[in-house]
Symmetry: C2
Subunit: 237 residues, 2 copies
DNA sequence: GTTTACGATATTGTCAACAATTTTGTTTCC
DNA sequence: GGAAACAAAATTGTTGACAATATCGTAAAC
């Protein structure tokens, strides 16, 4: 149920050409890990080389990413990792606050004992990454917790939405977050999981709501630089 | 605030080549109107002719539509208007019930007097279409009410989601709905608008929730034919 | 010394031709 | 007459080349 690495149709072990959706997923991951910073240029040629596919494949992948607002596609200029504005950031959190508490409620009602076990082991990974100061892993795992929750909820529509919103949130934290700090406090994740294991949907929902508000409160929306990092403003003193 | 017909960058009056997103929007509209029935083949050549654009443009549009699950893209077989299964239909309504009551609540808080006026005139159009038995208009306007509400709520993230969900709902009603009946009762829309005009977010939310449950209850999920309409089953008697 | 204009380079957007696959129609065999 | 095998047509998928645009470096002008 959680995780699925295999390719499209069951193909042999060989290094097959990744499909569009797989490339999209890989770029999602890279954005979540903050290996791809906001505003970074994604040239077609470089991506072709990186994924070992033709230009058309990359082009379509970038179009998909742009339709999910993870990259911006400027005509004749190319593709750039999105740099959400403060306004867009507020909209993303507004949407997450609408959806994810409900997702958590559903997950609490539908979680099998096995789901709880898997989520607990995920939480252990989170804690370990945090303890060892592996910031990148910590960020990724923290985001994946929300995605796993959506998987447990068993609704593919909201799963897709949560994936998109979690990815965009990583960009938002990269722009508006305090430098050293990770995104989520994982005590929150632990509490949500407790509510889940007790089948307490209402509590899971309200904890998720509180959790998301906490994350948003640790951002500095309202002041920051806009879409493309404004060089003039940076070097003006 | 509501509606925006103009093209990308302000271009002259001439019949410019429509961009991908515009083609996607046109196909959304056609699906909402039920001019494109579930399962219908969308051949590239035909669409090229219809929109007067090259094959690549169409190809990208179909990819976008497929990523929103409004069309299915079968390898080497082509594009087909999606035929949601009963399970997918349940997921769509589950998602709508998560999102749209919250959207309605937001809209109630943010609606300007002008927004209310525009929505009231929209409601008048709905009533007129229903009275004159213009079923197609009735269906389209009924769906657009939900989209307009999302526009008033002023969150582009949820706006995009609502557009997608409303479109898929039109397909679902085409498959699982009773033949003659429209999708929404528009008394419901009127009540929601009343709540909006009074700034009563809670009432707007609960009315929207009730409204969506009503729509879902008038469907016959659980029994019907699956993904591609099963010809063998249809002609077996 | 700074700014503007120009040309070279690189990147993106588009088109047309080709290959691969499916679908359809016909023939052959039982 | 019906079913399987084969061939023809149509449709989709992909590659490569070419045109349009933007970026960068250089040189000329003020």
């Amino acid at each position: 149920m959680m995780e699925a690495v295999s390719d499209t149709a069951g193909q042999d072990a060989k290094a097959e050409e990744p499909a569009e959706e797989e490339i999209v997923e890989r770029i999602y991951e890279a954005v979540i890990d903050q290996r791809l910073p906001p505003g970074m240029k994604l040239s077609e040629a470089a991506l072709c080389e990186a994924f070992g596919v033709g230009r058309m494949r990359i082009r379509q992948s970038l179009l998909l990413l742009s339709s999910r607002e993870v990259v911006n596609l400027l005509p004749n200029r190319g593709a750039f990792v999105a740099s959400p504005s403060a306004q867009q950031a507020r909209e993303v959190f507004e949407a997450r606050l609408m959806i994810e508490p409900n997702v958590a409620r559903l997950a609490a009602l539908r979680a099998s004992p096995q789901d709880v076990v898997l989520l607990r082991s995920h939480l252990a990974l989170e804690a370990e990454a945090l303890k060892n100061n592996r910031r990148r892993d910590s960020i990724r795992l923290s985001g994946q917790f929300h995605v796993h929750l959506a998987e447990v909820a068993g609704n593919s529509v909201t799963l897709r939405m949560v994936k998109e919103l979690v990815t965009r949130t990583s960009l938002i934290i990269g722009i508006f977050g305090s430098p050293g700090v990770s995104n989520c406090r994982d005590e929150d994740h632990g509490e949500i999981l407790d509510a889940l294991s007790q089948g307490d949907g209402e509590r899971a929902a309200s904890l998720m709501s509180r959790h998301l508000r906490h994350i948003q409160e640790h951002l500095e929306l309202g002041s920051h630089t806009e879409k493309p990092s404004d060089l003039a403003a940076i070097f003006r003193r």
